[in-house]
C-alpha cells in the first residue's frame, strides 16, 4: 500500500525494514544515534538531519555513534564487511571523502580483484551531496563522479522517495561496496512509497518522461530540474525524453543509446563541475556509440568549474536551473548543420 512520505522517511524506513530482516546489518557514523555517552537522550539526533532517528530505540547497539574520525570508522566498516557484517556507514557529507578515501578506493573497492575473486565487502556508504543549503564550498559538492571512476565501486544517486527506498534496500542486499548519494535538498520531497519492502535493481535507468525531440539524461536532484524544463518546453511544442540514470555505476547505456537513436539530440544535465564528470562521460559514450544518430552537437548543462559559493545569489546561479536546461534544449533543437 503506497502512501506519501518524504525522501528522508523513505531512507529511514528502508534501513528499519532491512535491519529487521537481516541481523548482520549495522549502522555506524557520526551522531547516527547522537547521544552516546551523554546525559541527555541516547537517541538525541538520529543523524545530523535526523535520518536515522528512531533506529537506535529499535536496534540498540547495532546503531553505533563513532568519533569524528572518518578514516577510522569507514575503514572499520570495510573490515567488518569482510568479516561477515553488512555495515551501512554514514559519511555525513560527501565532501569528507577526502579524509577517508583510501579506505574506500584502495581497500574496499579493490579487495575482490586483488584477492583473486575471493573477497566479499558488502558495505554501503550513505552520504549527503549537493548544493542548495548555503552550506558553502566544503559541504555542498557533487563528487559522485569521483567514485564512479573507480572500478569495484557501485554508485547510486536516487532522485525520489520511491527510488531511494528501493535502491537503498537493494544496496544493503548487494555484495559489492556501494556509495549511496543522497541529495540534501531532496530530504523533504514527498512522494508515493509502498509500505512493504522492495528493491530496484542497479543499472536500470528510469525514463521519467517520454518524448521524441530531445533526450535529457540526468541524475539525482537534477531530474526534477529537467522535468520542470521539459514541462515548460512541452508548451512550446518541444517533446523531451527525460532519463534518470538512478545509478552511474553500473550505467544503463542501452536506455540512453536507444533514446538518442530515437530523438537524435542529447542534453546531459549534471550538478557536478564540468570536467571529467557524469556529463562528459555520457557525452563521450553517446558520441562514440550513437554518432550516426546525432542531428546536433551534444549540450552539457553543469555547474561552473568553481567551488560552490556561499552567497545565496551566487549559489543559485551555480546550480543548473530549469531555465538553463531549457536554453540548452533550444540550442540543440535550433542547430543547423
Amino acid at each position: 500500500m503506497a502512501r506519501k512520505i518524504t525522501y528522508q522517511q523513505a531512507i529511514n524506513e528502508a534501513l528499519d525494514q532491512e535491519m529487521a530482516r537481516d541481523k548482520s546489518v549495522i549502522i555506524m557514523g557520526e551522531d547516527v544515534a547522537g547521544g552516546s555517552g551523554g546525559d541527555g537522550e541516547m537517541d538525541a539526533w538520529g543523524g545530523v538531519l535526523g535520518v536515522t532517528k528512531g533506529l537506535w530505540g529499535k536496534y540498540g547497539d547495532r546503531v553505533m555513534d563513532t568519533p569524528i574520525s572518518e578514516a577510522g570508522y569507514v575503514g572499520a566498516a570495510v573490515g567488518a564487511a569482510t568479516a561477515g557484517l553488512r555495515p551501512v556507514c554514514e559519511l555525513m557529507f560527501i565532501d569528507f571523502m577526502g579524509v577517508c578515501f583510501d579506505q574506500i578506493y584502495n581497500q574496499a573497492a579493490k579487495f575482490r580483484y586483488m584477492f583473486g575473486g575471493k573477497a566479499e565487502t558488502p558495505i554501503v556508504i550513505r552520504t549527503m551531496y549537493g548544493a542548495g543549503f548555503r552550506a558553502a564550498a566544503q559541504h555542498s559538492q557533487c563528487l559522485y563522479n569521483m567514485f564512479t571512476a573507480v572500478p569495484g565501486l557501485k554508485v547510486v544517486i536516487p532522485s525520489s522517495p520511491y527510488d531511494v527506498k528501493g535502491l537503498l534496500i537493494q544496496a544493503m542486499r548487494d555484495n559489492d561496496p556501494v556509495i549511496f548519494c543522497e541529495h540534501k535538498v531532496l530530504y523533504t520531497l514527498e512522494g508515493d512509497v509502498p509500505e512493504e519492502s522492495y528493491t530496484i535493481p542497479f543499472g536500470e535507468a528510469n525514463i521519467v518522461r517520454e518524448g521524441n525531440d530531445v533526450t535529457i539524461v540526468t541524475v539525482g536532484r537534477m531530474v526534477h530540474q529537467a522535468i520542470e524544463a521539459a514541462a515548460t518546453l512541452a508548451k512550446e511544442g518541444v517533446s523531451c525524453e527525460v532519463i534518470d540514470l538512478r545509478t552511474t555505476s553500473p550505467l544503463d547505456e542501452e536506455t540512453i543509446l536507444e533514446s538518442v537513436e530515437n530523438t537524435g539530440r542529447l542534453v546531459v544535465v549534471d550538478e557536478s563541475t564540468p570536467r571529467c564528470s557524469i556529463a562528459t562521460d555520457i557525452s563521450a559514450i553517446v558520441a562514440q556509440k550513437a554518432f550516426g544518430s546525432l542531428e546536433a552537437p551534444i549540450e552539457m548543462v553543469t555547474a561552473p568549474h568553481t567551488p560552490v559559493p556561499f552567497n545565496g545569489t551566487l549559489e543559485d546561479q551555480y546550480v543548473p536551473s530549469p531555465g538553463k536546461i531549457a536554453d540548452a534544449v533550444k540550442i540543440v533543437m535550433g542547430y543547423k548543420a
Binding site: I26, D61, R62, M64, T66, P67, S69, A71, G72, Y73, V74, G75, A76, A77, V78, G79, A80, A81, T82, A83, G84, L85, P87, D102, Q103, N106, Q107, K110, F111, R112, Y113, M114, F115, G116, G117, K118, A119, E120, P151, G152, K154, D174, N175, D176, G203, P250
Partner: protein, 324 residues
C-alpha cells in the same frame, strides 16, 4: 616462561620461523635473477615477531598485514606454494596472480591481506574485531604495522576507535628502525612507540622482537585481554630487517657492515635454536630435520611457481564485482 610450550609447540614455532627465513632468502635470490616482477619487501630478520604472535591465533582470528607481509601470511597458515606463485604473478597463486607480493590475502585462513598503503590495515582490523565482538565470539584481530605506519593518521584513528568501542584487537608495531630509508629515531616523535598507547587508553609494552619467547609471552597477555572483552593493546616489537626496504634497495642509508653484524648478532633463529637445545629438551637433530623439510618445501614452491601458467588474458576483467 615457556611453561605452556611443549617440545611439539617449539618445533612448530621453529618450522614457522625457518619457513619464513628460507622463503624470503629464496625470494631475494630469485628476484635478483629476474624471475619475480614488481615490488617486493622482505621480512627476513623479523621471523620471531610473526611466529610468536601467530602461535596464539586461531583460524577464525583475523590478521591485517602490511607491505612486508610474507612472514605474517606464513604465520597465519597461508599455503606457501600459493604464496610463491602469487609473488611470481601466476594463475595458481593465492590471488590468481592479480594481487602480488603486496596484496596476498587468504580470507579462509583469516589473513585479511598484506597492504600497499602504509596505515591501511589498522582500521580494517578494528572492523574485523567489531564483527567478532558483535557476533559474540571470542575472536580477535591483530594488525601488524611498521614504525612508519605508527605515524599515520589512520593508525591513530583506529587506536582511538578501538578503545572507544573496546574492541578485541592488538596493534603490533614492528619497529625495524627504518620507514623506507628514514630512520625511525628521526621520524617517530617519541622514543618508544609503546608510549603512545597511554594516549589512547590502552596498555603498551616494548618487546624484544628478536626473542620468540618474549613475543610469545607479551602477545599471550594482549590476546587474553582481547578475548576477555577488556579491549585493545599495543605491542612494540623492536627488531631489525636483514634486507632493504624493497628488493633492489642498495641500503646506502645504513651504516657499512650493519646488516652483516645484525645477521651475526641478533638472528632470531640462531637465538631460538640455542635456547631450545640448551634449555628445553629439543635435539639439534629435530631442528635439522625441519631445516631439510623446509628446504624441500621452498624448492617445491619455486618450481611450482615457475612451472605454473600465467593468468588467462580474459582474467583481466573478471572479479571486479560480484555482480555488475
Amino acid at each position: 616462561m615457556t611453561a605452556n610450550l611443549s617440545v611439539e609447540d617449539l618445533l612448530d614455532a621453529y618450522r614457522t620461523m625457518k619457513t619464513i627465513r628460507e622463503f624470503e632468502d629464496r625470494v631475494h635470490v630469485e628476484f635478483a635473477k629476474g624471475g619475480i616482477p614488481g615490488f617486493v619487501h622482505l621480512y627476513a630478520g623479523e621471523e620471531a615477531s610473526a611466529a610468536g604472535v601467530g602461535m596464539h591465533l586461531k583460524e577464525t582470528d583475523k590478521l591485517a598485514s602490511n607491505h612486508r607481509g610474507h612472514g605474517h601470511c606464513i604465520a597465519k597458515g597461508v599455503e606457501v606454494k600459493g604464496m610463491m606463485a602469487e609473488i611470481y604473478g601466476k594463475k595458481t597463486g593465492t590471488c590468481h596472480g592479480k594481487g602480488g607480493s603486496m596484496h596476498i590475502a587468504d580470507l579462509d585462513t583469516g589473513m585479511m591481506g598484506a597492504n600497499g598503503i602504509v596505515g591501511g590495515g589498522p582500521p580494517l582490523a578494528c572492523g574485523a574485531a567489531l564483527a567478532a565482538k558483535m557476533k559474540g565470539t571470542d575472536g580477535i584481530a591483530v594488525v601488524f604495522c611498521g614504525d612508519g605506519a605508527s605515524n599515520q593518521g589512520t593508525t591513530f584513528e583506529a587506536m582511538n576507535l578501538a578503545t572507544v568501542w573496546k574492541l578485541p584487537v592488538v596493534f603490533v608495531f614492528e619497529n625495524n628502525g627504518y620507514g623506507e630509508a628514514t630512520p625511525s629515531n628521526y621520524a617517530v616523535s617519541c622514543k618508544d612507540i609503546a608510549d603512545r598507547a597511554i594516549g589512547f587508553g590502552m596498555p603498551g609494552e616494548i618487546v624484544d622482537g628478536h626473542d620468540f619467547f618474549a613475543v610469545h609471552k607479551a602477545f599471550a597477555k594482549a590476546a587474553e585481554r582481547a578475548r576477555a572483552g577488556e579491549g585493545p593493546s599495543l605491542l612494540e616489537h623492536k627488531l631489525d630487517r636483514f634486507f632493504g626496504h624493497f628488493e633492489g634497495d642498495n641500503q646506502n642509508y645504513r651504516a657499512k657492515g650493519e646488516v652483516k653484524r645484525l645477521r651475526e648478532e641478533v638472528c632470531c633463529l640462531k637465538r631460538f635454536s640455542a635456547e631450545v637445545t640448551d634449555n628445553h629438551g629439543v635435539d639439534q637433530a629435530q631442528l635439522s630435520a625441519i631445516d631439510s623439510e623446509v628446504a624441500t618445501l621452498i624448492d617445491e614452491a619455486v618450481a611450482f611457481a615457475e612451472n605454473s601458467p600465467e593468468p588467462d588474458l580474459s582474467d583481466l576483467t573478471t572479479d571486479v564485482y560480484i555482480n555488475y
